[in-house]
């Protein structure tokens, strides 16, 4: 099928990330890990742009899809929600994408990243994918979004059904689902799964999870060394580069930098006064403003228990398929976003609050994510029992019309004054 790409979003992203990387290199005060992060992103989108030319299958996929399997088959993955997020953050073109999503019939109450995904496909601003891969992890929006992507792209697709619970039976079911997916991809790409390569990725998955844990440990230091912008970087590395050498390089660099800062007693903000827990994700388009607002208030996000803290569990490279299945049960987001909110998830929040010595929590109540918003009250009550106040900010993580920098600043001022008075 012939697709006219009206404007290459991908080219703009590549140019932006390369420019950011160059600018960072020229400024010695910037983290080297941040430079690596932008290089990674530039490379990621270059692979997408060049996929067709290089005869590689381009697979558009939704969040928490086991992309190790794609990398192991030399298939180029394209993360649809992250592309919308990054477009919102770096290109500021989210209004156009959301408008297209609306034109396609998606109501404003639907998750904006998924409306944006529809917009990206509707506007043909990304290279045409050869296949669509999607799953029900992490929500019903994700499950439905894939169907719309298939319809818009007229590409063949595969739906990966993820079970809720980690029981032996459900694990077997998921492994069978993954096998079916391998058959689908082998048929579409004409390439066989390289099981040795997949095993290597599982080894690196293990390393990555270990690095995430080390980074989380370092953030317990007072003052805490990682800024709020690091949160988006961690999410990107996890979502877009699982089992990839560049992710190991980036995470190792970040870990070493944080280690050095802790050793030197340096914090992410110049004068740390408030240690905050972040629940869910702040508006992406306000990330740079948030850095300023946090600095003004001496606030630092020290932990995101539902997004950056991995569950306990072992991956076994000698059983790569089972490990990929197991990894999907360990991802941090699963605890609050998929299936019932477990007692363990609540306990993890309490433990994090205590271990990280937090003064307060901010729940970014993303209006498009109804099922996580349903946890606001229970999490607030759990934190209240250990005398940790929680600020709830109704927001949208992509749509810039919902929150302004001033609104967030005012709310953080009120919250930090409340915390100050409580001391």
């Amino acid at each position: 099928m012939t697709t006219i790409v009206h404007k290459s979003e991908v080219d703009l992203l590549i140019r932006t990330f390369r420019m950011m990387s160059r600018m960072n290199r020229a400024r010695p005060e910037m983290r080297s890990s941040e430079t690596l992060y932008y290089q990674m992103l530039a490379e990621y989108y270059s692979r997408i742009r060049n996929a067709r030319e290089e005869g590689k299958l381009l697979a558009a996929h939704t969040v928490f899809f086991p992309t190790e399997m794609l990398y192991a088959m030399d298939i180029v993955p394209m993360h649809t929600e992250m592309t919308t997020w990054l477009t919102a953050l770096f290109l500021r073109e989210q209004a156009e994408l959301l408008a297209k999503g609306a034109e396609l019939g998606l109501a404003p109450e639907i998750c904006s990243p998924h409306r944006g995904v529809a917009g990206i496909f509707g506007l043909n601003t990304i290279p045409h994918p050869d296949v669509i891969l999607w799953s029900n992890l992490i929500c019903d929006n994700t499950a439905k979004s894939g169907e719309l992507m298939m319809e818009l792209s007229r590409s063949p697709g595969f739906f990966l059904d993820n079970p809720f619970q980690n029981s032996p039976g459900e694990m077997r079911y998921l492994v069978d689902e993954l096998k079916d997916m391998v058959h689908f991809l082998e048929e579409k790409s004409g390439k066989k799964m390289d099981w040795d390569k997949l095993a290597e990725m599982v080894v690196r998955d293990k390393q990555e999870i270990e690095l995430y844990r080390e980074i989380s440990e370092l953030r317990k230091a007072v003052p805490s060394p990682m800024s709020i912008s690091g949160y988006l970087e961690l999410l990107s590395a996890d979502y877009m580069f699982p089992g990839q050498p560049e992710a190991i390089q980036y995470l190792t660099q970040l870990r070493d930098e944080l280690k050095m800062m802790v050793k030197q007693g340096k914090g992410a903000v110049s004068s740390e006064r408030f240690r905050l827990m972040t629940l869910f994700v702040p508006p992406m388009h306000l990330m740079s403003s948030l850095g300023r607002i946090f600095e003004e208030h001496g606030a630092v996000s020290v932990t995101e228990p539902l997004f950056t803290c991995w569950s306990e569990g072992e991956l076994d490279p000698s059983r790569p398929l089972e490990s990929v299945a197991m990894k999907s049960f360990l991802i941090p987001e699963r605890r609050s976003m998929y299936g019932p909110l477990s007692e363990q998830a609540l306990q993890d929040i309490i433990d994090s609050a205590q271990q990280y010595k937090i003064d307060g929590a901010i729940y970014w109540a993303f209006l498009g994510c109804r099922h996580t918003c349903a946890t606001v009250k229970v999490i607030k009550e759990v934190l209240s029992e250990i005398d940790v106040p929680m600020l709830t900010i109704d927001c949208d993580i992509v749509d810039p019309t919902v929150n302004s920098e001033e609104e967030i600043r005012d709310k953080l001022t009120q919250f930090t004054e409340m915390l100050e008075e409580d001391r």
Binding site: P389, T392, T413, Q414, E417, M418, E421
Partner: protein, 262 residues
């Protein structure tokens, strides 16, 4: 010690002079074109009412426009000031419902006059002072007439509470239907929609007695009456509910002055 508090709201600037034995002077002025000039005017008027000739008092500012008056360096969030102000007036109050011109804020206050929790509704004008002004204008009555009319209502017209613009269309249709819905019932319906929305907000932080109402909207006795009916108990209402944040600012100015320079 005498101190001064000023609350720069979007419709009015309020100033309070506080002495050791109570409030010495208060004033309310519209902000006009220049907020800074309006603030000076409010301060001067409050000082005159307090019998003071010049301003060398410790001062603190609050409100949405406080950031535009750089000559007052001590600035505090409205929630902090409301908590202090209400604790001064009603030490038993544990919840404050502040209904201002542009937003509604509900806060829980502890026994020391500190905020324990708060939530605000600032995404829609319905339930705010500006919304009420608009509704009164639409019905061709004053805010005072609106308040007394509602006390004569026999029923409450159904008015949506999700959107100020849709609420306006509904009011228009009530006014123009044949026969028209009685004005008093429309007003009671408008108040009920505001109250319903406000009580939902209260429930988000948990309703805790005693409950006090503040802000200019609380001047509407009819609305407060419906709120009490819906809550099922009496609320505390200051004599000048719109002055509470400015009073809180004056209290904070006093606390800071007593602590001395850092």
């Amino acid at each position: 010690m005498k101190t001064l508090g000023i609350d720069i709201g979007s419709l009015n600037i309020k100033a309070v002079v506080l002495g050791d034995d109570g409030i010495l002077g208060t004033t309310i002025v519209p902000p006009g074109d220049e907020i800074e000039a309006g603030a000076h005017k409010a301060i001067e008027a409050a000082l005159v009412e307090a019998g003071l000739s010049h301003n060398s008092l410790p001062v603190a500012a609050t409100g949405t426009g406080a950031k535009f008056i750089p000559f007052i360096p001590q600035q505090k969030a409205i929630t902090t000031c409301l908590a202090r102000g209400i604790h001064y007036l009603f030490p038993s109050a544990r919840m404050v419902i502040d209904m201002g011109a542009e937003s509604t804020t509900v806060l829980k206050v502890n026994e020391r006059g500190r905020i324990a929790d708060w939530v605000n509704h600032d995404k829609c004008a319905s339930g705010t002072g500006l919304f009420l002004q608009q509704m009164a204008k639409l019905m061709g009555i004053t805010l005072e007439e609106m308040s007394s009319l509602s006390l004569q209502a026999h029923a409450r017209a159904d008015i949506t509470n999700t959107c100020a613009v849709f609420a306006e269309s509904e009011v228009i249709s009530h006014v123009h239907r044949d026969p028209p819905t009685p004005k008093e019932d429309i007003v009671a319906g408008i108040y009920a929609s505001i109250v319903s929305r406000t009580i939902s907000l209260c429930k988000r932080v948990g309703i805790t007695k005693d409950v006090a109402v503040t802000g200019g909207v609380a001047l509407n006795d009819g609305l407060v009456n419906i709120m009490e009916q819906e809550l099922g108990f009496k609320v505390l209402k200051p004599k000048s509910p719109q002055m509470v944040a400015a009073l809180g600012a004056a209290i904070i100015a006093k606390e800071t002055a007593e602590k001395g320079p850092k």
